[in-house]
Amino acid sequence: MIGSDPVLDVRKLIVEFSSEDGPVRAVDEVSFQVRRGEIVGLVGESGAGKSLTSEALLGLIRRPPGRVAGEVWFGGRDLLTLDEAALSRIRGKDIAMIFQNPTASLNPVFRVGDQMLEAMSLHLPEPRRVLRERVIETLGRVGISSPRARARDYPHQFSGGMAQRVMIGMGISCVPSLLIADEPTTALDVTIQAQVLALIRRLARELGVAVLLVSHDLGIISQMCHRVLVMYAGRVVEDATVGALFRAPAHPYTRGLIECLPRLEGDGRLGAIGGMMPGLRSLPPGCRFHPRCPVAEPRCRVDAPLLRSIAADREVACHLAETS
């Protein structure tokens, strides 16, 4: 079900911006892999750098003022070394991306079917006649009823959930090997969200699409992903399978996040993490989380912990996790 070779191999990805106070690293040496049919989650609060990470993969960061370093291996090539022309051939075809607000990605003055046709004819060699049929087939596959009629509708005639399905349809129409979904359901209602996420699960399972799912919602991550990376202030603090992470979170931040969630059973106060994530221009010395950490020790104030393996398939960046 899940392949063994990575479809996407990110190594020490860095995203930096120049500011009046010097360079600021919004993404600091992030590494991970996504294999065929696997759903990997990037979770973190706002400002953690997860959206920037996904944008950097596709060369969507404007440089200057940004600077991207590291390696992003996909299809045997390092995407960071490719020029815009080569990247645009990959985007939409081999790597599909869907964002939070689907209607913003659709041109309001063109019919949906025509937009999908344009996207497909850019990447696929088949004649438009054939592609037109494929558009309708794709719309049906993502669960849009009466696809032939709906293909002639305009974006404003689609609800949020339907529009997101259209985006997914556009994304998979060229049979990509990787789908990057950045908060795809944040703007959707719970019941619609369930439909869209179920669709993404099906894509991974049936078509073997590798999925990178970016979200701030731990619940979604736990139900959707096979692996998860927890990001904090630009760094990965924990990297584990979903089962291992939620059963026994190793990093204090992960533990805190899980305790913050209002559960549907249980009582009493919500666990909360005092303070807030530091701005990138005022990072504390040592471990970036130490000012808010309930178990911080003196060395945490001085030494920034590195991401280290504490068990098979499990990495944590925490001094205390290593010793326990």
């Binding site: 609060e45 019941t191 731990l218 139900q223 913050c260 807030m276």
Partner: protein, 333 residues
């Protein structure tokens, strides 16, 4: 039973928004004016010190209901009574005493504070308007309020853009409490906040409720939050209440199919072995019907897994199959 009236009593509240489509439609014979049925006959009460959670997805009318309760917008029909007094049709100038007792906390911390006012002046404004205190006493009260929401006095002279989302929300809460209200309408008050900050603010709201004996009308789409903060929960769908019950009861034994679907669709933290999204029986099919052209019978029928023929004909009324647990569904006649 109790002799004093409930703090808030809402009866058959209706709000229709006109839809301005074709201007010529006014002359078309036989066409009735089209309206959005935002709130279509909602009734509930809130007792002093009680938190009622109002939950539903977008378009269900919960936000509009909150606005109606505040008299921020005027109802198309229905009755709103606060502390026993009918305030439905009170003109604006007679509403001032009411405005002191019912306040709001908004969803967006970034636009709910005037960017040109310092924190101190924003919080002091209701105190001034309602002439609660002057000069030094007012300043003391402002400091006291900031302390209550967990902000130190150095925030008095800060501007909103210098604060984080969580801090701004605290200021918004302080401002809401400034005049000493008895009921606070929290309109998605934590939805725009990060998870860890959300937890802080929720804890704060619960603490304040205990301390000050506040009642909340807590409007949210997030069932987890609603579960944590509410004594009773009311579920809305397309302008109507479909289920009202004490919190524990609703989550343990949801009766309405929509409530059941809502609960089933929430991604709670699982063990990673199975995914709720792989289980097609949990998913609700279809989309919301148009709030302008509503179906004749039950509004949920088109998506309901238990749909019967009666559901397409007759709209179910809100009944109580169990004490204090109301459901509007033909499965519970």
């Amino acid at each position: 039973m109790t002799s004093s009236p409930p703090l808030l009593e809402v009866s058959d509240l209706v709000k229709h928004f006109p839809v301005r489509s074709n201007p010529l439609a006014a002359f078309w014979p036989g066409a009735s004016p089209r309206v959005v049925h935002a709130v279509d006959g909602v009734s509930f009460t809130i007792e002093s010190g009680e938190t009622l959670g109002l939950v539903g997805e977008s378009g269900c009318g919960k936000t509009t209901t909150g606005r109606l309760v505040l008299r921020a917008i005027d109802p198309t029909s229905g009755r709103i009574a606060f502390e026993g007094q009918d305030i439905t049709a009170l003109p604006a100038r007679r509403l001032l005493p009411f405005r002191r007792k019912v306040q709001i906390v908004f969803q967006d911390p970034y636009s709910s504070l005037n960017p040109r006012l310092t924190v101190g002046r924003a919080v002091a404004e209701p105190i001034r308007v309602h002439r609660i205190a002057e000069g030094a006493r007012a300043a003391a009260r402002v400091r006291e309020l900031l302390d209550m929401v967990g902000l130190s006095t150095e925030y008095l002279h800060r501007y909103p853009h210098e604060l984080s989302g969580g801090q701004r929300q605290r200021v918004g809460i302080a401002r809401a409490l400034a005049a000493g209200p008895r009921l606070v309408v929290a309109d998605e008050a934590v939805s725009a906040l990060d998870v860890s900050v959300r937890a802080q603010i929720l804890n704060l709201l619960v603490d304040l409720r205990e301390r000050l004996g506040l009642a909340y009308l807590f409007v949210s789409h997030d069932l987890g939050v609603i579960r944590f903060v509410s004594h009773r929960v009311a579920v809305m769908y397309l302008g109507k209440l479909v289920e009202v019950a004490p919190t524990a009861e609703l989550f343990k034994q949801p009766r309405h199919p929509y409530t059941q679907a809502l609960l089933a669709a929430i991604p709670t933290v699982g063990d990673g072995a199975t995914s709720i999204f792989d289980d097609p029986t949990r998913l609700l099919e279809g989309e919301l019907p148009n709030p302008i052209d509503l179906p004749r019978g039950c509004r949920f029928a088109s998506r309901c897994p238990h749909r019967m023929s009666r559901c397409d004909e007759v709209e179910p009324a809100l009944r109580e199959p169990a004490p204090a647990h109301a459901v509007a569904c033909h499965l519970y006649p």
